[in-house]
């Protein structure tokens, strides 16, 4: 609670949290008042914004507000799913490597270091092309991003958990006869909660950006809209060079808002949580 009060004192956190709340509001409350269930042609390609269609129409004459809201929801879904997968994987691998040490640590760290240097974009492109048009669903893309995005978090969690391992209360627990898993869950993980939470926030943001990036290059989901596919359509249909600002400015604005707000939340938490943990 005290931590939360400290957070509220940070202007960075307040700004980030408000911006993110706004994003959530648009994604989950606005649809109650604005029907986004239908994606249909309502006018001519790239009709300019009007009173009825506030952000104009896309290259197929579809309402951009509907597309953006649906895209935003898809992006948040991808971010959450990919973030959960990557965080769980990274935390588990990092925890076990840092806590167990020895051969297990060597193997897990080698694996982590290996995947840190192979660019995630390369893996995403290779897997997405192999799946082909027909199978590229939003969920599958989220899973792939999660499965390829854990390395960085594993590295940092490993460093943290190996630092905690040598603390006195761990030795006490051992003397008490506690088993490895119990020590890991009861005596180490709670110390890392704030850290893991911060990692989670960054991985959500990274997941959203990865999805937009591969959608941008035409490897996006085929079953729905995402902010990335909106940008891809805009680019492929010459909206950028023809100057139809409403085809890409709102989408880029939403992506920046998500990335910036999550990043600010993370950075401000770092400032509040970290003095204790910093080496």
């Amino acid at each position: 609670m005290k931590l939360f009060k400290n957070l509220l004192k940070s202007p960075m956190f307040v700004f980030g949290a408000s911006l993110f709340s706004l994003v959530l509001f648009a994604a989950f409350v606005v649809p109650f008042f604005y029907d986004i269930s239908q994606v249909t042609r309502v006018g001519n390609p790239y009709d300019a914004p009007s009173g009825k269609y506030l952000l104009g129409l896309d290259h197929l004459g579809r309402d951009y507000v509907v597309l953006l809201l649906r895209g935003l929801r898809s992006s948040l879904y991808v971010g959450l799913l990919a973030g959960v997968i990557a965080t769980v994987l990274g935390t588990l691998i990092g925890l076990i490597a840092g806590f167990k040490g020895g051969l297990i640590d060597d193997v897990l760290s080698a694996l982590t270091n290996l995947f840190v240097v192979i660019p995630q974009l390369v893996l995403l492109i290779l897997i997405s092309t192999s799946i082909g048009e027909s199978g590229r669903s939003l969920t599958l893309i989220a899973v792939i991003i999660g499965l390829t995005g854990w390395t960085w978090s594993a590295r940092s969690v490993r460093a943290q958990s190996s630092a905690i391992k040598s603390k006195d209360h761990i030795s006490l627990a051992r003397l008490n006869g506690d088993g490895g898993i119990r020590i890991l869950l009861v005596h180490i993980l709670p110390y890392l909660f704030s850290y893991v939470f911060m990692v989670f926030i960054i991985l959500i943001s990274a997941g959203i950006l990865s999805e937009s990036a591969i959608s941008m290059i035409g490897l996006g989901p085929v079953d729905t809209q995402s902010l990335g596919t909106i940008l891809n359509d805009a680019k492929n249909n010459g909206a950028l060079t023809d100057g139809y600002w409403y085809a890409f400015l709102p989408a880029t604005g939403i992506i920046i808002s998500i990335a910036l707000s999550l990043y600010l939340i993370n950075t401000s938490m770092d400032g509040v949580f970290n003095p204790r943990m910093r080496k």
Partner: protein, 356 residues
């Protein structure tokens, strides 16, 4: 024997480690595209096979199968079963022939143009290297300078710089590229929106061509550079503030050392972890820069990749991904070596036999 030469031991362990990573990368590059249900030959035949007679189609299919190492060969001839059909190879055999071809420097042939993938890459690579190497290094360096200065000065400079760096750093590459194109190429028309040079000119060492290439260079350069500055500044600021609070700096100040000398110590000590940071983020940086190339239709590897993806040209996709991974590995290895020779802390570790 190597114990006497810790440096050589360190270099060889690191090199060995990168070699293993390379093997894994090659294996992934081979396996991942084969995970899906699509056989590359079926895809090409689906695209180009229509309108051919049965005999022609069969010939063409066999040629592609041969090229992809999907059928067994003996002395340049296709090995056939009793009914005259070619015998398919197993995955292991395919992997063997893939690695064998790579060892000979053969990345295969494009599906579309029957051009060698290696030639396509060689044409694109100079553009990518010319765009990415200076941009990433300069962005990182300038960012570090700003960050160190902000950490030292604090006050207004820091208050203005830090939020701006945070803002820049949270920009995804492709988004930033799009906004720059819109603002400076479409609205103001200061710079061309796409391409690497004026297509009316022949690439060469003529004045007009170099001028045109430089003109086209500005926007892609800025979009990668500014994001790098943001990231570098944030990292360096944090490191700098941490270093400024350490005992050795307090001691140096009590001794009455000159301000510039103290700042130099701070910069040097905070710089080295930043180099490691750069190495770790290289994969992301290069990936982002490739997407930037696609936004600007810059004639580098990113664009080669984009058109390959649109054409489902697996041979080019696989070739480009491999070259990207290898480049990132080489860059990482160089940074590793750089740190080993310039960071006194790591150097001491190597000398004591802890390195590797």
């Amino acid at each position: 024997m190597l114990k006497k030469y810790p440096t050589i031991k360190f270099i060889s362990t690191r090199a060995g480690w990168y070699f293993i990573t390379l093997l894994v990368a090659v294996t992934l590059n081979f396996t991942l595209p084969r995970l899906g249900p699509n056989n590359p030959v079926d895809i090409i035949m689906g695209q180009f096979g229509s309108g051919l007679s049965a005999h022609e189609a069969q010939q063409r299919e066999e040629r592609y199968l041969m090229e992809f190492g999907l059928i067994r060969m003996k002395g340049g001839e296709i090995v056939r079963d009793g009914e005259g059909r070619p015998i398919r190879t197993s995955l292991i055999e395919q992997y063997g022939s893939y690695v064998g071809m790579l060892a000979k420097g053969d990345l295969g042939t494009s599906f579309r143009s029957s051009e060698k993938v290696w030639d396509i890459i060689l044409r694109a690579l100079p553009w990518t290297l010319a765009l990415q190497i200076p941009t990433i290094i300069l962005g990182w360096f300038i960012g570090n300078l700003f960050g160190a200065y902000a950490a030292y000065r604090r006050g207004i400079f820091d208050k203005a710089l830090f939020p701006m760096a945070l803002f820049l750093n949270s920009f995804p590459f492709f988004v930033f590229g799009m906004l720059l194109v819109y603002a400076f190429a479409i609205l103001f028309r200061w710079f061309p929106p796409m391409g690497g040079y004026d297509l009316a000119l022949m690439p060469g060492f003529s004045f007009a061509f170099i001028l045109s290439a430089a003109h086209h260079y500005v926007l892609p350069f800025l979009s990668i550079f500014l994001i790098g500055v943001g990231g570098g500044a944030i990292g360096m600021r944090t490191m700098g503030i941490y270093e400024l609070g350490t005992d050795y700096i307090k001691y140096a100040k009590w001794l009455g050392l000159k301000e510039s000398k103290v700042l130099f110590y701070v910069f040097r000590n905070a710089m080295l972890p930043q180099i490691t940071g750069l190495a770790l983020s290289l994969g992301t940086m290069v990936g982002g820069a490739l997407i930037t190339e696609m936004i600007f239709s810059y004639p580098g590897l990113g664009m080669a990749m984009l058109s390959a993806i649109q054409n489902q040209d697996y041979a080019i996709i696989q070739g480009v991904t491999l070259i990207i991974t290898v480049s990132v590995l080489i860059a990482n290895f160089s940074v590793d070596m750089f740190i080993a020779f310039f960071d006194p802390r790591v150097k001491a570790g190597i000398q004591m036999g802890k390195g590797g």
